[in-house]
């Protein structure tokens, strides 16, 4: 068994999955993966959906994606244990150690902050890598093209400023 799929195989398989999700024989909706977070937050912090207009508006999309992401969790667990054999508990990614630092505290604080900002950003824009970039751009939506362009720029600029990637160039 090969330990990973090539990128083109991943792209072809993801297209098939997206088309199935879009099709009326599948789910008749786009595949998204960020609405479930405020939905889960609403359930966990026990907010009354009648009191918060945002929760009311995402009730269905949030639940749908919640089920999807439980599935993704299971799928990722299965392949990581049985195929790629990469399951292990770890706190600091190798790349972080190489280009940022060796501090557990630093990685955890930055993870928390970036996780927090990421969801605010995704909900402001109305989508994420899945909902906007993949599902939205596949529909040639102008909104998703604007989002995709801004994200790519912010990603690369932040990568340049945040990490010491140049000094350790091999």
């Amino acid at each position: 068994m090969i330990n990973r799929l090539p990128w083109w195989m991943g792209g072809i398989l993801l297209s098939g999955l997206l088309l199935l999700t879009f099709s009326v024989y599948g789910a008749d909706r786009p595949l998204g993966a960020s609405t479930y977070v405020p939905y889960m937050a609403g359930l966990i912090f026990d907010l009354d959906p009648e009191k918060y207009s945002y929760l009311k508006s995402i009730k269905f999309a949030g639940a749908w994606e919640g089920v999807l992401l439980i599935g993704a969790f299971v799928g990722g667990f299965i392949t990581s244990v049985f195929i790629t054999k990469s399951f292990r508990f770890s706190i600091i990614p190798t790349g972080w150690k190489k280009y940022k630092n060796n501090s557990v505290l630093s990685r955890l604080i930055w993870s928390f902050i970036s996780g927090f900002m990421m969801i605010i950003g995704a909900r402001l824009a109305g989508g994420c890598t899945s909902g906007h970039f993949m599902s939205g751009m596949s529909q040639l939506a102008i909104s998703s093209m604007i989002f995709g362009t801004v994200v790519m720029l912010a990603l690369v600029v932040t990568g340049r400023l945040f990490y010491n990637a140049k000094e350790t160039e091999s």
Binding site: G42, G71, I83, W96, I120, G126, V150, Y163
Partner: protein, 207 residues
């Protein structure tokens, strides 16, 4: 368990696929992401540092193929459009926050749970941060975030801007994006911690 029950009931009450189908789509989604290794910090933050290009190659290829396939599926009546509206400030401010976070976190909301499933504790902490982000967004939506997003400029698509040539626009877009995915030079940033698990001849960095 109450949380799951109310989630499942909501999904069952709507005509967007059975609970089993949605779960299964999720399993395959997580499987593809994990098996191609695009959930890794080294792939996403690596792309931010321009040391790895697997993520953009795979994303662009997916969009290229899906855009052409979906257009003909809608024409045939097998699918519907679900376009997100243009809300300029929301897209720009949201995109900057999202892109910057993606570079630092090395994950996005879809790849995050897959990484947690692989045993990444830092990503679990980030996911808790995300839950608080979702909480803050919900609490201050009406007063702060909604006005910030700006006015709704409508659900515009590229083919609409070229009325009469919709098919051609879709084909050119799909083929161009697919070509971009092939033409982006392939660069890879491997994680030694994963490679050391493999026998020498199976290591992708030793070829």
């Amino acid at each position: 368990m109450n949380i799951l029950e109310s989630m499942f009931d909501t999904v069952i009450s709507e005509p967007h696929g059975s609970l089993a189908l949605i779960f299964l789509i999720g399993v395959v989604f997580g499987g593809i992401i994990q098996y191609t290794r695009v959930d890794k910090f080294e792939k996403i933050a690596g792309f931010a540092m321009l040391k790895d290009t697997i993520v953009p190659k795979m994303l662009f290829l997916t969009v290229g193929i899906t855009s052409i396939g979906l257009y003909f599926m809608v024409e045939a009546g097998w699918a519907n459009w679900h376009i997100k509206p243009v809300m300029l400030m929301g897209l720009i401010v949201g995109g900057i926050l999202f892109g910057a976070s993606m570079a630092i976190f090395g994950k996005c909301p879809g790849t995050g749970p897959v990484s947690v499933a692989e045993g990444r504790i830092d990503v679990l902490v980030g996911a808790i941060g995300g839950l608080f982000g979702g909480l803050v967004f919900t609490l201050y939506f009406d007063d702060f975030f909604k006005p910030l997003m700006g006015s709704n400029m409508g659900k515009i698509t590229l083919p609409e801007l070229f009325a009469g040539h919709e098919q051609l626009v879709v084909l050119i877009f799909g083929i161009t994006v697919t070509l971009i995915s092939i033409l982006i030079p392939k660069r890879e940033f491997f994680d030694e911690a994963d490679l050391s698990q493999l026998p020498d001849e199976a290591r992708p960095d030793r070829k």
